[in-house]
Symmetry: C2
Subunit: 183 residues, 2 copies
């Protein structure tokens, strides 16, 4: 029998924290618990979103673009570089992604006639409809996820997360946010 257990189970959050404490002296288990749970939770949520959007015939990547355009408000237009900044992509990646979405009829791309260097990406009615369908699924999932939290817990959670977010956003003013978005 090998030293490498024949069936190495995925560690639970609790096991993971315990292992970290064994391997790294001076670790605050409470901090680690918060950070690890946050990371894992986010991954699971993205898997769930991915499943839902896949069912609608669009990728998670495309949904990100739809969201950014809708958030910009009517007439739902943004330039490729604005989109790239919001999504944390390079302009090159944005060019390709827009290519695909134009081919699928989710957005249109045209030159800005008032400044011919710029390009305008605009949501099509089909794109808006896809966003709406995805949004309906997403909100159902989100409500279900938070279902067991009391009103007080929701309030604290929202407030505390917002505070943490403000802290990192101030620290990384807008730092060209490249770099892998793992976990």
């Amino acid at each position: 029998m090998a030293d490498t257990a024949p069936d190495v189970a995925e560690p639970t959050l609790e096991e993971q924290i315990a292992a970290y404490q064994r391997e790294f002296q001076g670790l605050d288990p409470q901090v680690e618990k918060i950070v690890s749970a946050l990371s894992r939770l986010n991954r699971r949520m993205n898997v769930a979103y991915g499943r839902q959007t896949a069912g609608l015939g669009i990728s998670n990547a495309e949904w990100e673009v739809l969201k950014a355009l809708v958030l910009s408000g009517a007439p739902y237009r943004l330039g490729p570089s604005d989109l790239a900044k919001r999504l944390g992509l390079t302009p090159a990646a944005m060019t390709h992604r827009i290519d695909r979405m134009v081919a699928e009829g989710l957005v249109t791309r045209e030159r800005d006639e008032s400044n011919r260097v710029r390009v305008i990406v605009e949501l099509t009615p089909e794109g808006r409809e896809k966003w709406l369908e995805a949004m309906r699924l997403a909100t159902v999932f989100e409500e279900d996820l938070l279902q067991d939290l009391t009103p007080a817990e929701r309030a604290v959670l929202g407030e505390v997360l917002t505070r943490l977010l403000r802290r990192v956003e101030d620290a990384q003013p807008d730092a060209g946010g490249r770099l892998s978005d793992l976990d």
Copy 2:
């Protein structure tokens, strides 16, 4: 002057929620606040981790592998498919990633002589050292991030996040977690 504002600012969390409410009837702003903050926070944290590991000469992707191996406990060995499951990658991607890490001396790869179908990936002392350095930076960052939270807030946050995590993990038992890990 174009309709597309010349300088479209990245929306703040509050602006984002407000925009969603305008565009989607019946949205619970509190739920959306929690979900959006979670997602944004996670992205920012990954950018921060990426910066730190890059400073150590390893990628965020490599750090993930080091973490999984250390978490498995001494003698820090796992098979490629175990690693792939933990990181949410395909076996093929794992093969390539291990190739690179072997070339950099972070891990070794050898056949399991007791079962020659299996392969054993083992952390090298250099790999362990890199993990330790990354861990030191990560914990400093994490302590700093949570610095303004009261003990009560930390307790609630940890408990609530754990509860949410349990809820999704039960719902997606271990669903081959493929699918994009965006955001």
